[in-house]
Amino acid sequence: MNTLYEAVIERLDQNNLWQFPGGVHPPGQKERSNTQPIQRMSIPEVLYVPVKQHTGVEGDIIVTVGESVLKGQPLTRSSLPFAVPVHAPTSGKITEITPQPSAHPSGVPEMAITLVPDGNDTCAMLKPLSQYQQLPKSTVIEAICDAGISGLGGAGFPTHIKVSPTKPIDFLIINGIECEPYISSDDRLMREHAWQIRQGIDVLNYLIEPKCIIVAVEDNKPQAIEALTIACQDSEHYRVVSVPTVYPAGGEKQLVQVLTGREIPRKGLPADVGCVMFNVGTCYAIADAIFSGKPLTERVVTITGSAIEEPQNVWAMLGTPVLHLLTHAGYLPHKQQEQHVIMGGPMMGFTVTRLTVPVVKITNCLLVPAKNELPAPEDERACIRCGFCADVCPATLLPQQLYWYSKSKEYDNAEEYNLFDCIECGACAYVCPSEIPLVHYYRKAKADIRNLRDEKDKSDKAKARFEARKARLLAEKEAREEKHRLAAQARKQAMEKSDSGAKDKIAAALARAKAKKSQSTENSESPQSTAQEKKAQVQAAVARAKAKKAQTAQNETTSADKKAQVQAAVVRAKAKKAQTAQNETTSADKKPDADTASNNKTSGTQVQDQPEMSDAERQKREKIAQAIARAKARKLNQQNSSGDS
């Protein structure tokens, strides 16, 4: 259930905030670095500007090796919605475009542009949009994207995506919590640049149109609260809220809960509960881009820890190697037992793999602790199930169970205990009396589960492919088997028939079939008078018999074959002759329908071949014979052709 807007406002008015469960109170250690103003550093000798410094996809590189660039010149172009460009932090020459060790716990090399500064720091700025309120929102959003702004708080989410929420927003939350110990970069920024932060918030206000704006600062930063309160005092719309100091109050989910009593649903976004959140540093960068046309090329970084001579905050160009910052602030390696530098805070930061690792948009702190300051954990002991971890978990998980299942690789159970809702804040490991590196186990388990899922995806696809193929093969096989079965059946039947042997039988059957066929042909062909029909039938029977004989003979012996052929030839010849005679007669008589057997009543026509039959009777017989002969010839032809096939 979402807390109602009015209820939230009421409680904000009374400064009666909500609480998130758990949380820890590690010593702040902020006073080490937050007393001095933010310093300017010398330009480093070399900059490694990673092309991707945010969550999303990288832009296309639009510069080449050897090219000279000006400060603020874009090095990549955003071609996809989730791409954010990077810009040259100073003027100089590009000497290399290769993967370099990244600002990531693993240090895996990522594509970076190596820039050797020329020391002149010559600028090429973007066009400021100081009259942004008269411009369409899309123009302003585009300007924010072109300035390369992504969240400076931690996740590094592209800002231009966040400023165009799809849901109505109740609360625009500006996160100035900075709950991790040691870090004071946001603190100093708020103290020194409250007005510019306010300007950035104005831009966000214009773009997002929230019902209410909350600027939240932990109560351990009274000067920052004061500065922001003054900066925001002219508008009732802006509320600067002091939040009790407890780690991790600055987590997005936790801050939403503390300020509004609402919980971001699992796998949801703050916008789902009417909230959207920006870091104070992001607001500062937005103001830079909109009012001065300055793209995001530098940020405030805290350099602190007991192995640093002068802990302080500095403006660091993005891409500055860690070593340059350490040298600037005075690194004292002898104070460390094992050399290690933490990027980020003591709770969630990671140790860098090399000192060439560059500062990126989300780098807020370099922590270099002395020997006994943050000692390496001893070997873990057995979990005594004290539940301290569960008491401090801000996500209300049961870390001891997650640990148990992660360690024993019972990943199904780990997921059932909501491993993926762990925000890796480290509160549990911070309090664990057995010094179990709990978060380390969770990260490993999560990575394993993700890998397994990927693999499963892959294997599922492969399996689907395999199944489809199997089904196809099976279908084919069945079809083949059916065919074989039918063929075998036919063969078997044939075998059975031929068992009783005699070829004659087959021949006889064939002849029978053929005769039948011829009969049906005849029937359909000769619709004559009954007498004729009878005769014809007789003739046909004779012909059948003859054909049978002929066939048999043909099958049996060559001589018979010959005889039959001769006979057939004779029959054919006779028929031809008869035909020709008839044709002659008809042509002589000029009778049009001479070839029809029914025209038998025509006047006396002489057929020269058969002088003894000159009467109508003879004519009739002739015609019948003709027809028979034709039929015979056709039949024989048929027989021959069918016999051949």
Partner: protein
């Protein structure tokens, strides 16, 4: 330069398992002091015996399992187990009782299950039950406070009883148990129970010499001393209030139910709370992290059910006290309780189950 890599968080509270266990031991000191005052030096003799045995037993097992002696012993869990067992048994019980109990607790209940963190049962309580069942006579010989004050004034005297069965002056425990009036004395729980069984009412039973004067107040003071230590543990965030709070509440509620129905036949909630080891059980025994439930709601259920069982077993069982039985019964139910009391995770609309 070679940089060393570490995993976050890089910071830890400086309170390790050993420190936690030590704090619990310290918190038991006021209670132990009260026991010494009212029940004599016997408890100190028992403590020395128990701790020595437990540590030797643990060391022996670790040697056999080829584990680091120093690391495991420095978690102080064996010490705490021994302490809890020693304060639970009669102060003048024979030496071999506590020795057997300690060895059993460490070797069988803890190490055979896989060591600290893997044991299902509370080692001290499992050992207590084993002793109670095996040696019922020795395990129920509680001396009335004043008799101890009269007969075993020094630690030497107490040690003599523990090791030989006789005081330096030659009295046996059985003799010591009989007071001047010739009535055998036991614990308040025992005597009330016996009185109720013999037909007396609850209020009549309270008139027994057992509850007179300083003697009657002995148990009360011991309970108060342990209560102070327990509250300190909560204050120091070594234990959470859930288990002791729900346990004591349940003891009160359950006994009130019976007392309200029939005040003559059942003892009052107050009586149940201050007598016997209800307070020790609530703050020091049921809170043993390894064998208790770990979810916040689970702890409440766990504590409440222990409280309920304590009263039921006290009223209807055959044994003088019930904390050990109640705890061990509920130890068995812990996996179930944990399973059903998983808290609702942030952003989830409901509990997972």
């Amino acid at each position: 330069m070679k940089l060393s890599l570490r995993s976050s968080p890089h910071q830890h509270v400086r309170r390790d398992t050993g420190a936690v266990m030590r704090l619990v031991c310290y918190a038991a000191l006021p209670g132990i002091a009260a026991q010494v005052v009212f029940f004599g030096w016997g408890v100190i003799v028992q403590l020395i015996l128990a701790i020595t045995t437990a540590i030797l037993a643990e060391a022996a097992v670790l040697l056999l399992r080829k584990k680091s002696l120093e690391r495991t012993l420095s978690d102080y869990s064996a010490l705490l187990t021994a302490l809890l067992l020693a304060i639970s048994i009669p102060p003048l019980a024979p030496w071999w009782v506590i020795v057997i109990g300690s060895v059993f607790a460490i070797v069988v209940v803890k190490q055979l299950y896989g060591g600290l963190g893997y044991n299902m049962f509370n080692p001290a309580m499992a050992a207590y039950i084993m002793l109670l069942i095996s040696f019922p006579v020795q395990m129920t010989q509680w001396l009335p406070p004043q008799s101890i004050a009269e007969n075993s004034a020094s630690i030497i005297d107490a040690a003599s009883v523990v090791f030989t069965g006789f005081t330096l002056e030659g009295y046996s425990i059985a003799q010591l148990q009989v007071n001047a009036d010739g009535v055998t004395m036991a614990t308040p729980l025992d005597s009330v129970k016996t009185a109720l069984l013999s037909g007396q009412t609850y209020s009549e039973s309270l008139n027994s010499p057992m509850f007179n004067g300083a003697a009657g107040k002995g148990w009360l003071w011991v309970s108060i001393a342990y209560l102070v230590g327990g509250l300190a543990l909560i204050k120091l965030r070594v234990i959470s209030w859930h288990i002791p709070g729900s346990l004591l509440l349940a003891v009160a509620a359950t006994s009130l139910m019976f007392y309200a129905v029939s005040p003559d036949n059942f003892a009052s909630p107050y009586f149940h709370l201050v007598n016997g080891s209800a307070i020790i059980g609530a703050f020091f025994i049921a809170t043993d992290p390894v064998s208790a439930s770990t979810t916040p709601r689970g702890r409440m259920v766990f504590g409440a059910l222990i409280g309920f069982w304590i009263v039921i077993i006290r009223l209807f069982g055959n044994y003088p006290d019930a904390v050990a039985f109640a705890v061990v019964i509920m130890n068995m139910a812990v996996p179930l309780i944990d399973y059903y009391t998983q808290p609702r995770t942030y952003g989830h609309s409901r509990r997972s189950r």
